[in-house]
Symmetry: C5
Subunit: 306 residues, 5 copies
């Protein structure tokens, strides 16, 4: 499989990483409908852990079965499928080699509420290796008083993963006592989260679509002084992408809560126009009936394909 020029260009940004890491990045960028385009759509299914089974799977009960999701990712032409340990163990033996797997290494449930949110580390780099994964995933909550613990866990996992050729896909979700509820998706905060992720050594960065709101007073002065545009989603995404090392780190955006098809596609068009490398789309995919989900995911990919 020869790599496309675009994929080679992207890999050139990760020149300090070893060939193993770059080979796995290439694997993800060369899989599915978007293979070779430099764009990515990933199916993530950690909601059973994060929100509970009924809220996650009852809208489309086929999703109670772990096999459903990996098949959906394959059938719809996703670049990769991401899930916690249990969901991957349930399918890795039968689907080895059919789609790049991303083991999400930390997770949080909603049965206890912590003032300073932090996810539990629930898997390891060795788990990712034994299950044949192409990458590991991790979530940080900048804004939480426990962020240092998360950054330090991340540092250890990134170092271990890089040494064995596994890239890190980092979910950067600001939340916690340090920021307001609106601030969680503020454009300055999303951009800051992207910058932090890149500085921490992530290979693929996932943030939420930024809203037209600025959280930090010090940042607001700068946005106003230099006229950084934030009116349209495209504007805001452009700033966030720029904040990820001037667009030299793969940065993708989440879909968030389930919503209507036209809304989803409208948002994706804004993301693509702003320079996003792709989407990570969970509930909007697996909570729809199978055929509808496949259609939607393909429509999303078509937008990114341009």
């Amino acid at each position: 499989m020869a790599l496309t020029e675009r994929v080679q260009q992207i890999l050139s940004w990760y020149g300090s990483d070893n060939p193993g890491v770059r080979a796995n990045l290439a694997r993800m960028l060369s899989t599915g409908t978007l293979a070779g385009t430099g764009k990515m759509v990933i199916l993530p299914v950690d909601q059973g852990f994060e929100h509970g089974p009924a809220r996650s799977f009852q809208p489309n009960p086929a999703g109670y079965d772990p096999e459903y999701h990996v098949k959906l990712a394959i059938d719809s032409g996703c670049n990769a499928y991401a899930a916690p340990l249990g969901f991957l163990e349930a399918v890795a033996d039968r689907y080895a080699g059919q789609i790049p797997l991303i083991l999400k290494l930390n997770n949080s449930d909603t049965l206890a509420k912590l003032d300073q949110p932090i996810s539990a580390v629930t898997g390891s780099v060795r788990d990712a290796l034994r299950l044949g994964c192409a990458a590991i995933g991790f979530t940080i909550y900048p804004g939480s008083g426990q962020r240092n613990r998360m950054y330090e866990d991340l540092r250890d996992l990134i170092a271990e993963a890089k040494a064995v050729g596994l890239p890190m896909v980092l979910w950067a979700y600001p939340r916690g006592a340090g920021i307001s509820k609106d601030g969680e998706t503020a454009v300055d905060v999303c951009a800051y989260a992207a910058q932090l992720s890149a500085q921490l050594g992530a290979h693929v960065i996932k943030v939420k679509p930024p809203k037209n709101f600025i959280e930090q007073a010090e940042a607001r002065k700068v946005f106003e002084k230099y006229g950084i545009k934030t009116e349209t989603l495209e504007d805001r995404v452009r700033h966030v992408v720029q904040s990820a090392f001037n667009g030299t780190r793969i940065i993708i955006f989440s879909g968030g809560e389930a919503k209507g098809t036209s809304e989803v596609l409208e948002e994706v068009r804004g993301l693509a126009a702003g320079g996003a490398f792709g989407s990570i789309m969970g509930r909007n995919a697996f909570q729809r009936p199978n055929a509808e989900a496949i259609t939607l995911l393909r429509d999303v990919m078509a937008v990114f394909k341009g």
Copy 2:
């Protein structure tokens, strides 16, 4: 010993695990009265640690002696016997090979009360190996502010155990500041606990029989919108089993406090009808006189045998 088709089917769900883990699962599924049926009844005796000796053993003082319990498990045809380090060390040398042993690796006493409950880790995977155990056991308290510590201890133990061929039997008992007293056995919470256990990589999951109560507001909306049935124990167990990877993880239910024989059997019939893989029955067994306990356990097994 050829495995039955049902046992082979169950083992196929654990295809990402090594042969050692599956061999030990097969050992437990091929022992005792329920051998080969895919059902399990386990005798657990950790109450001396958890509630103290008099409350646990005075109703049937033979139980002060550790040898009593392993013999009861063998004589009644249980699939396995589970206990903390001390109780297993007291018998492992003489009963090696006579029944699969499960070393419970964490335990909690009632002499101190913690706001955020957490058990102490009191044994190790190496202990399980040197005592010839077939599995390890662990308890998590989802809902406790200390749950992350428990999940992370669990992750380390599961990883270590899987590498040496030992399955994990996980007690998932929601409790702590995050949920109400009724919520500890709410159907949504039990189902969530089952999902968490499966995502965390447990091989056998033990939860409490779910009550007709829904704890979480967000979950209640979904139960109502999609008409998830919760009136009968059978309904509720079905939902919990579905939440354990659509029934592809062994999930068994505890008996809880001592009660009358007809009550016990009534409950077990509900569990069996809902698709439970079996029961784990402690106080209802060892606090009865020996002959009565053996009769009850055999009656329970008969229900599961169908």
Copy 3:
């Protein structure tokens, strides 16, 4: 040296332990005046650490010198001598092989008061090995909010010690926010402490003589319902011994504060009648003039010898 039948019987209860552990148990059971009887009297001298030098040694100033105590233990025919690191290092080179030494691995001073008491770990299994000790000692405070940390330190030390052939002598002293001052010596609490110690894997268990008081409401119901006798010390000791795996773990009792000779012997007669395996007697021994101490210890041994 052939072992007596009683010692062989006791060793048979520890059949899951390796020959090294059993050899050291045999050493302690085959030393001194009570050699071969299955009974033990141990001299423990950790009071310098726990209460300070003047309070401990001024009543008999010879005791400021570490050599005094090991000689007292030998001269009076004790089974073993237990002390913290410093006291053992001060004598181990000259008294190697003359009496089994027990290295107390954690200790607490009274210069700071913690709400949730916990001892510092002040020695290691390797220290015990290099000093030629026959066992290690450890203290737990069930009832303290810090008990989990102590149980987990204990688990690590027990595992390490068992692997190198050293038995664990466990001081189980309930205290802390979870129980009342009277509850520290309540019969239900002492029995619970004995059960916990046995479940945690201790070889020799040391508790305080139980008083005729029941701390826990749930336990009181059981004591009343089943008529567990608690009037005499003999009754209460019998329940505590039963709670240590039905008498199949060596369980000995402390003497506590210094008191009159007749009081000491009266208490020891109660302990012996209830089935205690012996006493651990510190201040009542070393704070008396030497000759008087030797006489008292020999009188105590005579009671246990029966």
Copy 4:
């Protein structure tokens, strides 16, 4: 490359370090415009992590690109370039050998506020080695209640780095509950920070320019009694340099917030007159247009060159 006498003299102060550490110190002292003079100007770019991307890079948007900074450091003739993991990984493969790199091993963001400030450790000595760095950097906050954790992390990193030949550049920024806002740059506190850094084993020490203010009452008495001069920046810098082992540790000063060119140069003249070994200048450099930044940095170097 023969070392100048001055560089050899400086290296002689580090005689207890191994040749690897001294070779890397020599590398930094023999690079750029100030090569051989014993003076250093370092470009540090950690503001994207510490203050966010817009506040850091929007004034000169070329700075969103990590490549911009390493080129600026080279083009302006800096002795070294310091940045967090991500920024160095983005350029280390292409700029290996062109300028000494310093990996900043801990960083802090402004999305969460901690009462007792502490940075997260976000990189490792192994990262520094694999990226071909000449040194590692670390930040301590004397005055924070968490300072012990930082000093202990530092000790481990220094020990590891020294063993593999990497010097430690220590940012010593007093802050936290122990000192007032003004006290953060008080002359007694800056001098104390320099002393602490030297005692902790740092090779290059970076503090803020001291203000004419004395924070600690006990120190004030001494300053008054012995007439330590603090009126001019030169006076204060002299005391701080003296506090770094009488000037036998390389001590450089930060530029702080962006300000006018004449202000910057005025300050640098004071630093140089007081015996500073150089400056570390970030925002005042990379937030200016490229040509202006190069001019300023060269002017700064000219001052130190004298």
Copy 5:
């Protein structure tokens, strides 16, 4: 170099230690003016870390230079020189073999105040080895709520040091929430600190000169009942020395704050009369002009020489 009889006698008290530890004790006891007498005077210079540079060194500015102190120790005939990592690294290469060095492994600054005081561990046993030290030093604060952490750090360091032949010099300074300000130098508390240090395995113990005050109510009863004399410094020192294993551990006393020459010598005479093994004298030495300091130190040694 043949050891004197007195030195041989002292070494005999440390018979459980390996030859390496005893050789280094012998080195310290056989160096300087007091060589062979069994007495020790040590120069400690950690005040730059503990109190800041100006307060420590401005009274005699030569002391800003690390070389000053090691020369003072040599020139005055001290047995050893003790300092933190930085100060020793600054001189170890040039003064190797000229005087025994003691690396102080933990230190505390006064820029932050902790309710429960604890020093940071700032050096390691490996540092002591690579710098050619004869011993390590450590400080404990009995009375602090953090004392367990300090005792446990100490245990690890002592174990590591003993294995490689390095003795432990322990600074035992009671302070913290558990005791009053006066209590920090109370005779019962000093004696208790000496006992704790010995029990923890220290080879050389350093406490403050005890005052005629009794802190603990329980101790006061004993002091009164048995008539322990506390009127003169000689009386109190005798009790403290007795509390260090009846005088079989080397115990020396600090000089504390700078004071007049006659006061210093008066105090030293009291210490010597009570059986102290020597003094550790910092500020009273290095804050005096060089010649005066040498004279004072020699006068102090003359007192101990008797």
